[in-house]
Structures are given as C-alpha cells and as structure tokens.
C-alpha cells in the first residue's frame, strides 16, 4: 500500500514538476527556529506528563520540558544532568543521589530533592508505561540529597534515572499537568493544538547551556502528509520511510539515523512435550536442536534482507542491543552458508528427496509467525523462509493476531521488534522466570546466562556491569551467542528529510519507535547563516 502510494505521489509530483517549475518559496523558519513533522502516533495522548509516558516508556527520548537526573550520551553511557553525583551502597540496594541547587521550575520555584522524591513516588504508583516494582521507597535526606531504596539489586538504575522527567511537587495535578506542564528543562511548552502541533520555546531560566534553537514547532502528520510538507517547503525536518527515500524534495537531504530498532525471530529452544498452566504447548522439535539454531544464525544473509525488505536502509542485527555498551562484540556472525549446511549435516539432519532435511523421522519444518498487519515483519518472514529453504529447512510464514501471537511464540518462531536504551531488555528476553523455569517470551533456559545477568544486576559499578552483561552473551565458552535463542535479523534505519543548511546534532542510536528521538538534542542544532 505504502509503496503504491509513494509511487503514485512521485508520479503526480513529477507531472506537476513538468507542468511548471515550483516557485522557490522558503518558509520563514531559519535563524533560531525549527519546524519538524513527526508521526501522528508520536503525539502524547495523555499530554506531556512523564508519569503517563512522556519521554519514558517504549519510545524513550529526552522529555525536553522536564529535566532528568541523568542523561544517556550518544554512546549510551550515563552522564549527570540534575544529579551532580550518585553512588550505591555496599549491599547495592540504596542509591544515594546529590542534585544541583541551581535548577528552577518555570514557575520560578527551586527544584529540590522533595520534587524528585515526589516524582518517583508518583511514577511508582501511577506510571502507565514504566515498571517501578523494584523501587521500595525514596528518602529525602536534605534539599539536594536523596536516597532510592530498592527491593533487589538493580545496577541499571542510572538508566531508569535518565528517563523520568522531574515534575514539581507543589504544582502537580494529574488531571491538568499533561496539558500545561511545568518543568525545569531546556524548553517550555508554549502551546499545544491537540491533534496538530506543539510549540516549544527555550526556557529562559534553564540552568544549563542556553538552547541555540529558541523555538521548536512539532507537527503531527501522517507519512504522506509529512512528505508533501517537505515537498512544499513548509517544514525543516520531516520523518519519512524507505519507500520515499529515492524522491528527495529539492533543498532537502536524507538523514539516515542508525538504530537498535531491531527485528528478529525467537527460536523455541526446548523440545515439545510440556504445556503452560493455561495448556499452551511449549517447544519445537526442530528449533530445540542447537545445531539448527546456529545454522540459521550463520545461514541467513542479513544484507540481502536489508536490500530486499528495507530498500537498503538498515543494518544487520546480531543481538537485541547492537551498538549499545552492554553488547558483546562476539555476537557478530559472518554469513557462511557452507558452514551452516555442514552444521546441519553433522547434527544428523539429512536431506530427503524433496530437499527438506529430516532427522529421526521429523522433517525440518515450522511456521514463521508474524503479527498480521505489520508489513515489514510479514515481508521479513517471507524472505527468511526463502533463505531457509536453501538450507533445507521448510519454514512457512503465517500471520496471526497479537491475541494469539504470544502463545504461538512458545512453540513456533515469531517475528518480534525490540530495541531499548536499557540492559534490562537483555534480562527480560533471556533470564528465566521463577515459576516456569523458562524465559518469558521464548522457551529458553541457561543457568550460566542467568548467573551472569544476576551478577550484572547486583554489580555496583556500571563498567563492571557492562562486562557481565557481555559475558552473559559470550564468556569464552558459551552464552547467548552460542545458544541462539533469538535469531536477530535487521536494525531498521530511521529516515528523515532535513532542509539544507540545518545542522542536526549528533544522534544517539535510536530506540524502537520512530518519533521524538530525533529531537533529543534539538537545543544544539544550528542553521548555517
């Protein structure tokens, strides 16, 4: 559909271009103003309230209006923002954080430890998008010091502190805050025309470096509309998709942002037989064989997937956290179909007459399940199925609704999309749960992996934790890289049109979700004069 639309648009545009040269009208935006078009879904329905998802949740981005205790740097390491220092106790349960004393809310009241405590208590009780069950209590020590007491060791805590914007205790009302937020961040919300645009202005009382861009207008537009807005020269930045990438509007260039917005299949790593408490069958005979999983990891030509499915706009994915500090460099594999075939041969999977491999009377066949309605995952499933065919594995794509997808994933590979700015994702995808003894989304269990990840969580030092997260993936003998409970395929690039003359600040590796992330460092953007 999108392709047809893009094609038709291109056609009508080129017709228009033939008929008459488009007059070169440049919008008034320049100097210190930026107008950006992002997707309609990016508009925060519940308003600009960190408690109800602004800046936090699946699509983590800097909340702009509020400031956070810490921030993530372009390489996804942690730096201070409101916090001036933080440390963790011997038992790794108490995080003591000092905050700066020169931060003021836009209503000119000072931001103190009380506001921070209030914010975290509120998100713990109310958050609609974040998990704070690990937080026991927040203690205010004095105006600039506070302590977070956790239920269990949680070394990823600094990453939590980077997502929650601090709201004022004295002026927070859940019913109205989202419409008229008061924060201490780089910008203040000047106006919000619901369903169309949000206008931001530089906060004159901001404690940090004054933003270079003084005014930011964010338009919420459908993909076609955003493309046309760029064609008409009415926006400075517009999100776009690969289908449009070849048709650059004049005076715009394509900005390709690298991401960890990945797609991949889970591979059930246990043999069938068991069922869940609800009676859902667990396990798959074919993918339960580690040799099959390893062969698939080696035998998939990821670059071909990127070229065919993503029009070249993507990077090969080898883990859930490509390019993030907790990824093991050993996760990278090189496409080697010969070795893949050899692995399958050695494991006793012999080709039958129709070319499909068979072992112990079982044919190497399974479904590649994808959520119906997601065209990228559907095309990926088809392309992977075709590639597996050459290995002698008969995979058949099958679209299902999300209501049954989770259950199906316990016995058949399902196409997933992940990519978050926290190592906790690695944990949730691979660590076993106490009741079932298996990981949450795919039947997989490894004592060694569990142990490394528990140690990583209990670590008191971020650098050391990174090393332990990496060891869970590969410790020299084994790990996730060797077990392949997930077959990672691609990271999808996020694409934007940027008006010539506008310099966009260095981007963090963008997470899952194509929206606000591009504006994280909007204060550092600049126009060439």
């Amino acid at each position: 559909m999108r392709r047809i639309l893009a094609l038709a648009l291109a056609l009508s545009l080129s017709l228009a271009a033939c008929a008459a040269p488009a007059p070169q009208t440049r919008s008034a935006n320049s100097g210190d103003q930026v107008t950006a078009a992002i997707s309609i879904e990016s508009e925060p329905e519940a308003g600009f309230d960190p408690v109800y998802g602004w800046g936090a949740g699946e699509h983590v981005h800097e909340p702009l209006i509020q400031s956070t205790l810490t921030v993530t740097m372009p390489d996804l390491t942690i730096a201070n923002d409101l916090a001036t220092d933080f440390s963790v106790s011997e038992d790794a349960l108490t995080w003591r954080v000092s905050i700066r004393d020169d931060a003021y809310f836009t209503d000119e009241k000072q931001l103190t430890a009380k506001d921070v405590a209030f914010t975290y208590q509120t998100v713990k009780q109310e958050s609609s998008v974040n998990d704070f069950t690990m937080l026991r209590e927040v203690r205010v020590v004095d105006d600039v010091t506070l302590e977070f007491v956790l239920e269990h060791p949680y070394s990823a805590w600094p990453y939590v502190m980077s997502t929650i914007g601090i709201v004022p205790a004295h002026a927070y009302d859940a019913a109205t805050y989202g419409q008229a937020p008061i924060g201490s961040g780089r910008y203040l919300l000047k106006q919000w025309d619901k369903g169309q645009q949000a206008i931001f202005e530089a906060n004159p009382n901001y404690y940090g470096v004054a933003p270079k861009i003084r005014r930011l207008t964010v338009l919420f537009m459908a993909e076609e509309a955003a493309f046309l807005a760029a064609q008409a020269g009415q926006v400075d930045v517009a999100y776009t998709a690969a289908a449009y990438a070849a048709q650059a509007p004049s005076d715009y260039s394509l900005l390709v942002c690298k991401t960890v917005d990945n797609r991949g299949f889970n591979l059930p790593a246990v043999a069938p037989g068991a069922v869940t408490a609800q009676g859902v069958p667990i396990g798959n005979f074919v993918t339960a064989d580690p040799a099959v999983r390893r062969a698939m990891n080696l035998g998939i030509d990821r670059q071909a997937l990127i070229d065919d499915v993503l029009d070249g706009y993507g990077t090969p994915a080898y883990s859930v956290c490509d390019g993030l500090p907790w990824q093991s460099p050993q996760a990278v594999v090189f496409y080697d179909p010969q070795q893949a075939q050899q692995l399958l041969d050695e494991a006793g999977w012999v080709r039958s007459q129709d070319g499909i491999r068979v072992k112990d009377g079982v044919r190497a066949e399974f479904s590649l399940v994808y959520p119906a309605g997601d065209s990228v995952r559907q095309t990926l499933a088809a392309a992977v199925a075709a590639q597996l065919g050459t290995l002698g594995i008969a995979a058949s794509p099958e679209g299902v609704g999300w209501d049954s997808a989770y259950d199906r994933a316990l016995s058949q590979p399902l196409a997933w999309g992940w990519g978050a700015h926290t190592p906790m994702e690695l944990y949730q995808l691979h660590h076993t749960q106490s009741e079932s003894g298996l990981a949450l989304y795919t039947p997989y269990a490894s004592e060694a992996v569990d142990r490394y990840m528990d140690e990583a969580l209990a670590s008191r030092d971020l650098e050391q934790a990174y090393t332990l997260w990496q060891k869970a993936q590969w410790d020299g003998q084994g790990g996730i890289v060797q077990d392949v409970p997930w077959l990672w395929l691609v990271n999808i690039d996020h694409l934007f049109w940027v008006r010539d003359g506008l310099t966009v600040a260095e981007q963090k590796i963008q997470p899952h979700g194509h929206g606000w992330s591009i504006l994280n460092q909007i204060d550092q953007w600049s126009w060439k004069s």
Binding site: T35, G195, Q234
Partner: protein, 330 residues
C-alpha cells in the same frame, strides 16, 4: 397537532432504540477486535522490560480480562447517569474530548456538507439539461470518476496541486504551523479548511450530481414539462416552476443521508490533512483499544446522522405537501 407530537415522540423513541442498538453493536465489534491495548499503547518493546506485577496492574487499567458484558453494563449504567466515562488514552472525560474534536471540525464539515449539496444540485441540473452536449457529458464523466475515487486519494491530489505545486494553500492542520493561538485569525482557519472541505464536498457532490442528473432527465421527458414548454414557457422558467421541487426531493434525501458519508470521509481526509477532527480521535481510540472514547465518538456520530435523517423527514413536508404529516388528512 396531537398527531405531530405523537410522530415526534415516536421518532425520539426510535432514536433511543437506534442508539441502544448502535452501542451494543459497536461494543460487540470492539470486544471482538484483536487489538491488545497493552501491545498497542505501551508497546511490545516496553512490555519486554516490565515485571509481571506491573503488567498485571496495567491490564486492570485497560480492563483486559473483564468480561465484555460486565464492561458494557458498567458503561451503560454510567451513561444513564450522564457520565460518558473517561478516555483511557487521553485521560480526560470522553465528553470533553469529543466536544473539543467536534468543535474543531464542525465548521469544516458543515461547509463541506452544504457546498456538496448546492454544487451537486447545480451540476446535476446542468448535466441533465445539457445531456447531449459536451458540458453535460463532461460533468457526468467527472462525477463518475469522483465518486469512484477514494477520499484520501483525492485529498492527496489536491494537496499536491495546491500546496506543493502552486503553493497557494497550506499543507494541512487547522491553524498555521507555529503560530500562537492568540494571533490566529478567522481567515487563517478558513484557508486551512479549504482543502479538506473541498475534498469532502467534491466526493459528496458526485453522487448528488449523478442522481439529480437522472431525475432531471426524467422530468424533462415528462408530459407536464413538455406541456409547459408547448405553452411557450422558457426552459429556465419550466425548471423553476415544474422541475425544482421534483428535483429537490431525491437530492435532499441524498444530501441528508450523506451526513454519514461526510463524517466517514472526514476520518480519512483528516489523516491526510493532519486535521484534528472527530475522525482522528475515532481512529486513535479504535486502534488503541480505548473503549469509552470509541463508544463516545460512535454515539455522537449516530446522533448526528439520526438528526440529519430526522431533519430530512421534516423538510420533505415543507417541499412536498403530499408527504406532510398530519396535513394530508385535512
């Protein structure tokens, strides 16, 4: 008079029944929808980083697992007390969201509706009158094409022509981008309503044109029309005296019936024009599993459509004395 009151009371009762039926049906449809509100609103990737306790908490907020009947009864009981509920996505009262959205697009929708009626009627008459001439054929063919075109496609084409190529009209939104509300003028709003309004009225006008053209042809072939012409009346006078009333009836029926089409079409047009109307809220609510809001929007639309048909019923009497209720007996 008594008859009239009885008739209106009957209509209101029917409206009540209709709304009840619509609410039950939309509730059933929404319950059968495979949309998992947690998946769509929180996102699979965010769920991945959550503990099972948190997921349970969120499931209760989104009422996952509450039986549909129980939810419906709770919603219905609240509604009878005048409480439309709170939108799960917007976290504001449903009535406030619906009112705000309706206020945004009501003007544009009303203009589109009136324009489509007037345009349809005029073009239809012309097409009928000049049936064999080039002008008539042209109108006929254009109408056929227009009625076959999807609304959003027409919207895109208009955008390409007027906003991208000619650059005389804005690309979308209901107010200028980046402009503060205090300095937005009525003229600005009008400029921004032109393209979505035009899109909706063009697609709405097409079917009225086609029907009016048929009726016009029929009238022009009728005995009374020929007789009037034979008496020496000019064609224009004939149409004025004998054609218009007969033409109005089918046109009006269509015009009021097409309220639903305009509302339905606005759903798609709003997406193309980034116009913050009721349609956008309906799409968000439907895809996000926001039951109270979806039902609120559906009910509001049903009331509008019903009122449209009701108005048509009333106006029939004005146009054609033969249909006048209560008057026919006299």
């Amino acid at each position: 008079m008594k008859k009239r009151i009885k008739w209106i009371a009957g209509k209101l009762l029917r409206m009540g029944l209709l709304l009840f039926g619509v609410s039950v049906l939309s509730f059933l449809l929404a319950s059968a929808s495979p949309v998992d509100p947690l998946q769509t609103n929180i996102g699979q990737a965010a769920l991945g980083a959550m503990s099972p306790e948190q997921i349970t908490r969120l499931e209760s907020y989104w009422q996952v697992g509450t039986p549909a009947l129980e939810r419906y009864l709770r919603w219905g009981a609240d509604l009878l007390r005048g409480d439309w509920g709170t939108s799960l996505l917007y976290r504001r009262p449903v009535l406030a969201v619906v009112g705000e959205r309706l206020a945004n697009s009501a003007g544009m929708l009303a203009c589109a509706w009136i324009f489509s009626g007037v345009l349809g009627l005029l073009l239809g008459m012309l097409a009928g009158l000049y049936r064999e001439k080039t002008a008539g054929k042209l109108i006929h063919r254009c109408s056929l094409v227009l009625s076959a075109l999807p609304t959003f496609w027409l919207g895109l084409v208009l955008l390409v022509v007027f906003a991208v190529w000619l650059r005389v009209l804005p690309i979308g939104l209901s107010v200028p981008a980046g402009m503060e509300a205090s300095i937005v003028t009525g003229g600005d709003r009008l400029r921004h309503a032109i393209l979505p309004g035009l899109t909706l009225s063009l697609s709405g006008a097409a079917s009225i044109t086609l029907h009016t053209r048929e009726k016009m042809t029929e009238i022009m072939a009728s005995d009374y029309f020929w007789f009037a012409k034979a008496r020496g009346e000019s064609t224009m006078l004939c149409i004025w005296r004998h054609g218009l009333r007969n033409l109005l009836l089918p046109a009006m029926t269509l015009q009021f019936a097409c309220i639903s089409e305009i509302i339905g079409g606005s759903l798609l047009a709003e997406q193309v024009f980034s116009y913050p109307g009721l349609g956008q809220a309906a799409v968000t609510a439907g895809l996000g599993g926001d039951f109270p809001l979806l039902l609120g929007v559906t009910m509001a639309c049903s009331v509008l459509v019903f009122l449209g048909n009701f108005a048509a019923d009333l106006l029939y009497g004005v146009v054609d004395p033969r249909i006048r209720k209560g008057g026919s007996a006299a």
